[in-house]
């Protein structure tokens, strides 16, 4: 009786529909977990766009929603990069904005008017649920075990490597790009396995969507041909590969060229040449394959070598000639710096100065992936065991993903999917082996398969009748230990991920928070205070000069034209701003007048101890300016003779006279009792006499001195230069050597 009821219970779990229902429920729960894990900053602060880049995407989305798609496509933005302007419609990746706009209009059509800001903030968590599902689909193609897929979805949902760029509020291209990446890979594997044109076309369409969304599409453009090439070299050329790859290449390249920002790059740059080369190579191979079936093999051999080798050689020669003739552009700086890591620091300091482009430190791997990082090689090894076409893909992806993740911190993001998939395969194989309660059938036994707890009991009754005791991996002790250990690992993984998300990746960086003495949260909202002041109390087209970091935020929150912003497309313009910031007032003033600057904005963290301020970034400004004007701006002059970078009395003259130094410390010493002015970030005591500013007036300083806004003085009414005008205003008492002593001449009448 009990055996029967247990039997029925066991059978209940075996039904196909039960399993599907379980899978659906589990996937929904995983999506829910991934979404809620990304909501820390919305709950702690508010629903606001974070950081810097997302503000531009938000502004572009608002423009799209307000003005429609055609105006957006042709948008020329004259409120950025003054006086150059920017052809924004043609120099951005529109996928993200169009997605948000589509969701906005769809919801409005369903009479649920959600504010566009909320859509933009919540887009990334919503797509992270979809990414988990895509990881599930991808892993399902790799192994027949369904638990691997679910584990991959769970890992992908909460892995910090992905969360870092997809928290609520991080409205950046990666929010949808990673979903498209994983889904494109899934479609590619599906197309390859089936050899179907339809799946290949779907893969191409999603690849096109991915090209519209993120500059990292070049990863797919290089990985799929590489996969095809490895398969060919392994001797696994097949007609399915031909069908899938050529369909993907033909449709995908056409789709990618529709985006104005990509334009003709797929036929003109070196990053896309591998795809084209493999395409041609595949045509060759298909032809050879066809011929092989037509003629006897000995003739075929000669034919093969002469014909095929000749064609391949000619093709390669043509490629090399074209590249050296300049018709095909060589690897662009951003990609070249992935191979030669020292290149950017010397030649393109802007790329080198971005903190995300630094090489990855070793702890970052564990920080972002926890125990997945040591299961990852195990999963790749298991792929080697099977080594069907799709497993080769995982291996190739793993190798190249690891290399790139090691070169640039930002590319940890592209490594995370394959780590999740491989680790899921490894964990699933372990758990599948050890969770099965049955043992291999000794004489006359029936082995049952299915879910664990119920069958364990059924197996127990049959176990007693075995003659041999079970040992090794079949004993309950070993099963218990292994399963228990992995459960602990999984729980610690969840705890680690939640801790990392909560502490490291949920800061909006527009709003800072600290704790008061009574434990309550004190919000430091200086950025928004200053931006709101700018927005309400300056004229509509007052031009703001600041370092390029804040350009998008000023454009988004303060709604004023800026000189340079985070797009960094014009290095000379940025170097001009850098030169203005790092030169003496007499040199900076003409530059500012020439660019019609009304206000200058600097970030100063000395009062609060906020270390992300402009004095800390100052050396990058100098370096970038030096790249264009090596005669006028020299980095060495900002270091003391002993080689230190100092801001107190020991600072060099160039440093003390630079506009940035003066703007940061103007009036700062009056805040403290005399002689005790302290810069809390650099940890030094400042000189008693603060700097004097002649060409600027202090317009606004925020509450904790984080943002300081200065107004550029108009030309003097009497035509004097500002230094003498200011000296006159201050009274002749403060002689700062502005008077020149002329040799006295005897007057003879």
């Amino acid at each position: 009786m009990s055996a029967n009821s247990l039997q029925t219970l066991a059978n209940a779990g075996k039904g196909e529909s039960t399993r599907t229902l379980l899978r659906v429920i589990i996937l929904f729960l995983i999506a829910g977990a991934s979404i809620s894990s990304r909501l820390f900053s919305v709950i702690r602060f508010e629903s606001i766009i974070h950081e810097f880049d997302p503000w531009f995407n938000f502004r572009a989305t608002k423009y799209l929603v307000a003005n429609g798609f055609y105006k957006f496509w042709d948008w020329f933005d004259d409120r950025t990069w003054h006086p150059l302007g920017r052809v924004t419609g043609g120099t951005l990746y529109p996928g993200l904005m169009v997605t948000s706009g589509a969701i906005y209009h769809a919801l409005r059509a369903l009479t649920i008017p959600v504010d566009i800001r909320n859509i933009c903030v919540m887009l990334a968590p919503a797509f992270s649920g979809l990414t988990a599902y895509a990881a599930y689909l991808l892993t399902n193609e790799m192994t027949p075990s369904s638990s691997a897929g679910l584990l991959a979805a769970a890992f992908m949902g909460i892995a910090p490597g992905y969360i870092s760029r997809s928290v609520a509020g991080s409205y950046d291209n990666e929010a949808i790009a990673i979903f498209l990446l994983v889904f494109t890979f899934y479609l590619w594997i599906k197309a390859l396995k089936q050899g179907s044109m339809l799946w290949g076309a779907l893969c191409a369409l999603f690849y096109g969507y991915m090209v519209a969304s993120w500059g990292g599409y070049a990863f797919i453009t290089c990985l799929l041909p590489l996969h095809a090439f490895v398969l060919i070299c392994m001797g696994r050329y097949s007609t399915r590969l031909y069908v899938a790859y050529t369909t993907w290449y033909a449709l995908g390249t056409l789709a990618s060229m529709q985006i104005p920002f990509v334009g003709f790059l797929p036929v003109k740059t070196s990053e896309h040449m591998p795809a084209l080369g493999i395409f041609g190579f595949l045509q060759l191979l298909a032809f050879l394959d066809y011929v092989r079936s037509a003629i006897p093999s000995r003739q075929y051999q000669t034919f093969l070598w002469l014909f095929a080798g000749g064609t391949f050689g000619i093709g390669l020669l043509a490629l090399v000639v074209a590249t050296s003739a300049g018709v095909i552009a060589p690897w662009s700086g951003r990609f070249y710096s992935l191979w030669d890591t020292g290149y950017a620091k010397i030649h393109i300091p802007i790329i080198a100065s971005v903190s995300e482009h630094q090489p990855t430190a070793w702890p970052a791997f564990f920080f972002d992936l926890n125990f997945l990082i040591f299961l990852f090689p195990a999963g790749v090894y298991l792929c080697f065991q099977e080594l069907a076409d799709e497993h080769v893909f995982i291996v190739v992806y793993a190798v190249f993903g690891s290399y790139f993740a090691g070169v640039m911190v930002r590319l940890m993001l592209t490594l995370t999917p394959v780590v999740c998939v491989a680790a899921a395969i490894a964990v699933a194989s372990v758990l599948d082996t050890y969770l099965k309660a049955d043992s291999p059938a000794p004489e006359g036994h029936q082995s049952e398969e299915g879910s664990d707890a119920t069958t364990k009991k059924a197996a127990k009754s049959t176990l007693k009748s075995t003659s041999k005791p079970v040992v090794g991996i079949y004993s309950y002790l070993s099963k218990g230990i292994v399963v228990g250990a992995f459960t602990i690992y999984l729980l610690m993984f969840v705890r680690h991920c939640t801790w990392v998300t909560s502490n490291a990746y949920s800061s909006p960086s527009v709003v800072l928070a600290s704790r008061l003495a009574d434990g309550s949260q004190h919000i430091i909202d200086d950025y928004r205070e200053a931006y709101q002041w700018l927005r309400q109390n300056t004229k509509e087209d007052a031009k703001i000069m600041s370092w390029w970091d804040y350009g998008y935020q000023i454009g988004g929150m303060a709604d004023r034209p800026t000189l340079v912003d985070n797009n960094t497309w014009n290095n000379t313009h940025i170097a001009t701003v850098g030169k203005a910031m790092s030169s003496r007032e007499e040199v900076s003033y003409p530059i500012m007048r020439q660019h019609e600057v009304d206000y200058v904005l600097v970030v100063f963290g000395g009062l609060l101890g906020y270390s992300g301020d402009d004095i800390n970034k100052f050396l990058w400004m100098v370096r970038i300016a030096e790249g264009i004007w090596p005669d006028e701006v020299k980095e060495r002059e900002f270091f003391t003779p002993r080689g230190e970078y100092r801001v107190d009395e020991g600072a060099t003259e160039t440093m003390k006279n630079s506009l940035m130094y003066k703007m940061s410390y103007y009036n700062y010493n009056t805040l403290f009792p005399p002689g005790q002015a302290q810069d809390r970030v650099r940890g030094v005591r400042l000189p008693d006499v603060g700097p004097t500013l002649n060409v600027l007036d202090e317009a606004f300083t925020s509450e904790n001195w984080i943002i300081r806004i200065y107004k550029v003085k108009d030309l003097d009414n009497f035509g004097r230069d500002h230094a003498s005008a200011a000296a006159f205003d201050r009274g002749i008492k403060k002689k700062k050597g502005t008077k020149k002593r002329v040799a006295r001449q005897l007057r003879i009448e």
Binding site: M197, L205, T253, L276, G277, Y290
Partner: protein, 166 residues
């Protein structure tokens, strides 16, 4: 953008060896009916690199190919091959025009050329998927499904081309 004469695009250049190689093959079967002389001429062009010593074997190879082709290929597949040959010819013409008359506007040239290349590739895939010999390779794609896929993919291809021609 000033029209650039003699601007040979690398894509076209890369395509050219492939196109000519497949034109070699395609030209051969199409010309199988009239004569195999054109085939031998094209075969001769590739053999000219090697010298006349192996002329005999080359001729034999090509003749073997031609015979095999005309005997063993069903009518439907020959139709596909004829279409593919037409596409190659159109593509070659476009490329020739680009070389002679400059490639301005570039997107129009690319769009037209990609249409021929893309359609060629899709037709080749259809040919592969409907060939009897390959049935074992495609367990989940029946010939009818292959044709339906072909139609859908061609629609997508031409949609992009029309959008890109501007």
């Amino acid at each position: 953008m000033a029209p650039k004469h003699r601007n040979v695009t690398p894509a076209a250049q890369q395509q050219q060896p492939v196109a000519t190689s497949s034109s070699n093959v395609a030209a051969a079967p199409v010309a199988a009916a009239p004569s195999s002389s054109s085939g031998s001429v094209s075969g001769g062009s590739s053999s000219s690199k090697m010298g006349s010593k192996q002329q005999n074997s080359w001729d034999q190879v090509v003749v073997n190919i031609a015979n095999y082709y005309s005997k063993n290929t069903p009518q439907r597949t020959k139709l596909l091959d004829a279409f593919m040959a037409f596409l190659v010819a159109v593509g070659a013409l476009q490329f020739l025009y680009c070389v002679l008359a400059g490639n301005y506007p570039f997107n129009a040239f690319l769009s037209g050329f990609s249409a021929t290349v893309g359609q060629f590739v899709l037709t080749a895939s259809l040919r592969i998927q409907t060939a009897e010999a390959n049935k074992s390779d495609f367990p989940s794609v029946s010939p009818e499904r292959a044709f339906a896929d072909y139609v859908v993919c061609s629609l997508i291809l031409h949609f992009f081309c029309v959008n890109f021609i501007n």
